[in-house]
């Protein structure tokens, strides 16, 4: 995967000059030409709905025997509905999937195994990197195909950096991060925010991941990493340069519009690269992107490319070949992706990426070149999180808040996460 993307981006210009011939994708008949109705569900906003619907129409034109019943909903409610449908065996044939939920759905055998369709060529993965495919695989089988790439990143406010007269490097160490935070606060009064996303990165830095390969326990033997994390949270919370926990309730960092970076309450925001357009346009100014900070003694580069979202087939679908063929079309067809415009993240298929790389706007260019930089150093992404990881996530969030308010010591918080988390994972493994 390394280097490949940068090479592709370089090739893009060349290819665009060569003026691609009208795509000669051969249209194979699906479902033996028999009429069939495919239910497809996704979450998203107006733009995504419009673009996706257009691509469905395109597919219908190529395969007139396939009609779609769309079930677009808001993110709010999507999972409640999908869970209800799963519990009542009425899931849509194709559904959009999130990185954090793959494990839970896999544990209950709700997703269709796509591997046979990769093997028989229905899904063409030749231009998709193995790392990307692995992000949607469990036990060596492909269940979810990635729709767009993404990378964790640290957004920073360029104006604040300029005002403080500080140069922003591509990647900071944590010591630098802390001293810069202090300096910025002293010079400009703008604060800093550290959140629980950091935790996963600490694991990566020492060359492991939060969860063991089989998902039945943590990827570490003791709570040292958790201690480091909660100590960081506690140390930062004591400093005047760190935003107060009260303010974090007001300026909820999980909602784009209220993120503390938007109104320059803070100079930073831990997030993902595909949020650049959203956050910049909400803030009304261009933000900068850095890779995530590293510990001075880290053994491994923490930065990685990750999947923003996937398409999955339902395990109970009556038309697995149509599902596979459509997912292939959606991910690998240049025509389809010229319509989709990378709205779900940087395309994973190199030919699609090349075709899309021309005609990017300025913000997208920044994002694509950031992804390109990351790609030069990226280490493989983590396995999909296991069943029970959401519970542990909630626990970490709760304890992080308690540490910020000084309700619990970092040591106790770490011990609690490790003990309760291990229990949750063991329970779910049964």
């Amino acid at each position: 995967m390394k280097k490949m993307l940068s090479l592709v981006l370089a090739l893009a210009l060349l290819l665009s000059v060569m003026a691609l011939p009208a795509s000669a994708e051969t249209v194979k008949e699906v479902n033996g030409g028999e009429p069939c109705t495919i239910r497809i569900a996704w979450w998203g906003n107006q733009t995504r709905n419009d673009l996706t619907t257009k691509v469905l129409d395109m597919y219908h034109e190529l395969h007139p025997n396939v009609t779609f019943e769309t079930e677009p909903t808001s993110w709010d409610g999507y999972w409640d509905k999908l869970a209800t449908q799963a519990a009542t065996s009425s899931m849509p044939d194709i559904f959009q999937q999130d990185y954090g939920k793959v494990g839970s759905f896999f544990a209950q055998n709700l997703m269709m195994d796509l591997t046979p369709y990769v093997e028989n060529g229905t899904i063409d993965t030749s231009r998709i990197s193995t790392a990307v495919l692995e992000s949607g695989s469990m036990d060596g089988k492909l269940y979810a195909l990635c729709l767009g790439l993404n990378s964790p990143c640290l957004f920073y406010d360029k104006e604040t950096f300029a005002a403080a007269g500080i140069e922003a490097p591509l990647q900071l160490t944590w010591d630098q991060f802390f001293s810069i935070s202090k300096e910025i606060y002293e010079k400009t009064g703008v604060q800093t925010y550290i959140d629980s996303m950091v935790l996963g990165m600490l694991f990566r830095g020492i060359g492991t991941s939060e969860y063991a390969a089989d998902g039945t326990k943590f990827g570490v033997e003791d709570d040292t990493v958790f201690k480091t994390y909660f100590q960081m949270i506690a140390d930062a919370a004591k400093e005047p340069w760190h935003v107060s926990p009260e303010l974090l309730v007001e300026k909820n960092p999980t909602v784009t519009e209220t993120m503390p970076i938007i109104d320059k309450t803070t100079w930073d925001s831990f997030s993902n690269s595909n949020q650049l357009t959203t956050i910049s346009s909400t803030a009304g100014r261009e933000l900068g992107m850095m890779m995530w900070p590293v510990m001075a003694d880290d053994t491994t580069q923490v930065q990685y490319l990750k999947s923003s979202q996937f398409f999955c087939g339902s395990a109970t679908t009556k038309y697995p070949d149509v599902v596979a063929d459509f997912i292939n079309f959606f991910v690998t067809s240049v025509d389809a992706n010229l319509v989709l415009k990378g709205e779900r993240g940087v395309p994973v298929d190199s030919a699609v990426l090349a075709a899309l790389s021309e005609g990017l706007n300025e913000t997208d260019q920044i994002m694509y070149s950031f992804i390109d930089e990351v790609n030069k150093v990226a280490t493989p992404m983590d396995r999909p999180t296991p069943n029970g990881s959401t519970q542990i996530g909630t626990l970490v969030e709760d304890l992080t808040e308690q540490v910020r308010y000084g309700e619990i010591s970092p040591e106790d918080a770490a011990a609690q996460v490790f003990a309760e988390g291990s229990e949750i994972l063991a329970e779910n493994a049964q």
Binding site: P245, L247, V249, E250, N252, T394
Partner: protein, 313 residues
């Protein structure tokens, strides 16, 4: 259930015709409530029993249920401190917000009975908050009002009270911000009070005026007693709603800070649909049902002492 009409002697004759049969009190009673019974049996009782069964299982919503006996119930009260927190938050919320809201609704309803050309407009204005209560706009707005740089603090500063407190971010005040939101939405209770006031025969007031009773005495000796069925209704309903409160915690604070606004129903929802621990959520639901049931039973048994029905002899 209280102060029911005296039983009348049902005629013990053999039914001469269908219409006579249908006119027996007990038969007519079942005829009137038959719709409810059908609906209850078809749509409600099975789900209720199912959820009771599931409360004794380990049920990951996406998979199968495994019988684990009373383990969910035991865990709730012995090992889940977050659960106990949500319980105390909800009790506090219900006991504070319900009386405040009803008092507000009753006072405003009394004010709204005053005749004027713009009364209709006033009523609409006071009812409007209830219309938009659950919307995102209110959530955004409400948060903004009580932020550290929000309108409330600006007003306080104008009154030369130096406040930069984050009302929504402090663990001791966040719940009050949500209580205030509930009290602000007193419109529905107000409307029911208005309907209740309208039902009081004017002749009673006329008689009282002749007797030389003033407005205040009129209120306490006529309005209030005759309004007790309405007050009772509002009290029962708001108590039930108070214990089941979900929306404001969900859209405004997500239970923060430090779980100080973690309502029972919100925690239940998170268990069911974030953790997919539906068995546990069902167990929580049945404990909630018992709690609300007890509160309601308590209110009903107290009502014999203070609720006055004209329809009773």
């Amino acid at each position: 259930m209280t102060a029911m009409p005296q039983p009348r002697r049902a005629k013990r004759k053999k039914p001469a015709s269908l219409s006579e049969f249908l006119c027996r009190e007990s038969v007519a009673g079942y005829m009137f409530i038959s719709l409810f019974i059908i609906g209850f049996l078809v749509f409600t009782i099975i789900p209720m029993i199912a959820s009771l069964y599931l409360s004794f299982t380990n049920y990951n919503i996406l998979g199968d249920a495994k019988w684990i006996g009373i383990a969910n119930y035991v865990k709730m009260f012995t090992r889940d401190s977050k659960y106990l927190k949500s319980l105390s938050v909800t009790f506090f919320y219900a006991f504070v917000s319900v009386p405040l809201k009803l008092l507000m609704a009753l006072i405003v309803a009394m004010i709204m009975t005053r005749q004027s050309r713009v009364t209709g407009l006033y009523r609409s204005v006071y009812y409007l908050p209830s219309i938009i209560g659950g919307s995102v706009a209110v959530a955004v707005m409400w948060k903004q009002l009580f932020a550290s740089d929000g309108v409330i603090n600006s007003v306080l500063q104008a009154l030369s009270i130096n406040s930069t407190k984050s009302w929504i971010g402090s663990r001791d005040s966040a719940i009050w911000v949500l209580i205030l939101l509930t009290v602000w939405q007193f419109g529905s209770s107000m409307l029911i009070f208005l309907a209740g006031l309208k039902q009081i025969p004017k002749t009673y007031y006329e008689a009282a005026t002749i007797d030389g009773a003033g407005k205040v005495r009129g209120f306490f000796s006529i309005t209030l007693p005759l309004l007790t069925p309405t007050i009772f209704f509002n009290l029962v309903m708001q108590t039930i709603n108070g214990f089941m409160v979900f929306n404001s915690g969900y859209i405004i604070t997500q239970g923060k800070p430090l779980n100080s606004t973690l309502f029972y129903a919100l925690y239940l929802y998170q268990k069911a649909f974030t953790d997919y621990d539906m068995g546990y959520a069902c167990a929580m639901a049945w404990v909630l049902l018992v709690i609300i049931g007890l509160m309601t039973a308590l209110l009903f048994s107290s009502s014999k002492r203070w609720v006055f029905y004209q329809g009773a002899r």
